[in-house]
Amino acid sequence: MTRVVMLNDNSEAFTKKVNEMTNDMITLCEQCGICSTSCPVAEDMDIPPSEIMRLVQLGDEYVLETKAIWVCASCYTCTVRCPRGVDLSKVTEALRQINLRTNVNYLDIDNLDSEEVEELPAIALVSAMRKYTG
């Protein structure tokens, strides 16, 4: 699906903010796409990792609404393969954090099935809470 990138007065500030949160990862990316070909969960994403990078570079805040930023589980496969040294997992983390800091959680803890929670190891719950809730 073609999507028109809409830039506005906040675009530059948005790019700058993500760049700061990620220790200057954003402008390094040259859009080679190796992250998208390496990502083990790309098929579960609505946009591929390289497009996440491009939208942030352009300052399109639509990226904050994508499923892709939540599907990334910080496996660092793209990180070890990026020829420019971009740690893309820092970028998806920053985008999740921007959402979570508005006090909106991605995971609704109250509606988790209690029997299911009983079966889950603490390590799964702690890591999910850390990534999905603010």
């Binding site: 969960v41 660092y76 496969t77 820092k90």
Partner: protein, 300 residues
């Protein structure tokens, strides 16, 4: 004479001691390595905090490293600043926080000032995974201490993410690791190379609405091990262990033709090979490994 190490168990080794904690601690003991648990340790946070402006989530891992300093001050260990971790996720989180404060003096000062009731962290601890201790000891020496060589057993190591990546944190080459292969060889088993040995299992997506991500990854990873000829898989990450073992139930629901495969924690098979069969927790796994061990004539 036992060599004493400061030891960080983390939640899973304590929550499921029979499957994780006891095999790990007892295997180490059998090798002359005493794991001295950090007094008053706290949760590391399970996942590394990745944004530059988030110091709060670095506090928990660093507090554990301060405890290692205290253990040395109090003589619980003798000038030993290597902190041994078995859980890959704890290892990655603790090591990454440690690297961050070693590289960023301002961040270290901020965290030290925040924890004003603790002694300052002097950035002198080294976070190591137990597999690194075994490698540094020499796998040939481990081989000499094996009581029950796993002759004829075909084991596919599974690394997952946190042992290998990012490369500054990983314990081996992130694209072509060999440390677990060497470990399996030392146990006397046959190494099976799984091409998906470092593919992410889906991690914490096992909680909530995206469990199918994990079940599909498990399907791919276990099938790849089977196709390569493996009898079982081993992993060093407790969350991978849950996803690849317990989540096989969901995988089977989604793919009825799926065949189960045992997935053991690496210290379970280590304890077994060290002759500590009653400490290996083999009755704890979702997919039982005992039938294949019996089939290979390795247990009664």
């Amino acid at each position: 004479m036992m060599k004493k190490f400061p030891y960080y168990p983390g939640c899973t080794l304590k929550q499921y001691p029979k499957k994780f904690g006891i095999p790990s601690e007892e295997s180490a003991r059998a090798l002359g390595l005493e794991m001295v648990e950090i007094p008053r340790w706290n949760c590391c946070g399970a996942v590394a905090s990745l944004t530059a402006d988030d110091m709060m989530h670095q506090v928990a891992p660093i507090r554990n490293l301060i405890r290692v300093q205290e253990m040395n001050d109090e003589g619980l260990v003798d000038n030993e600043y290597r902190l041994v971790v078995f859980c890959s996720m704890c290892f990655n989180t603790l090591k990454r926080a440690n690297m961050m404060v070693k590289e960023n003096e301002a961040a270290l000062n901020t965290i030290n000032e925040f924890m004003d009731r603790e002694q300052d962290y002097k950035a002198n601890v080294e976070v190591v995974h137990f597999l690194e201790i075994l490698r540094d000891m020499g796998f040939y020496r481990l081989e000499d201490m094996i009581k029950k060589p796993l002759k004829g057993l075909k084991i596919a190591p599974y690394y997952g993410c946190n042992l290998l990546r990012p490369k500054e944190v990983g314990i081996d080459n992130p694209e072509a690791p060999t440390i677990m292969e060497n470990f399996v060889e030392a146990l006397g088993a046959e190494v099976i190379d799984n091409p998906l040995k470092s593919l992410c299992c889906g991690s914490y997506h096992t909680v909530g609405g995206h469990k199918d991500i994990v079940a599909e990854r498990t399907y791919a990873i276990v099938n790849a091990a089977r196709k390569a000829g493996a009898d079982m898989m081993i992993t060093a990450c407790p969350l991978c262990a849950f996803n690849l073992d317990d989540r096989q139930a969901l995988t089977k629901e989604l793919h009825p033709e799926f065949q189960h495969m045992p997935v053991l924690y690496f210290t379970q098979i280590l304890a077994f090979a060290l002759g500590l069969e009653d400490k290996a927790g083999l009755e704890e796994n979702y997919v039982d490994a005992r039938p294949i061990l019996r089939e290979k004539g390795l247990m009664d």
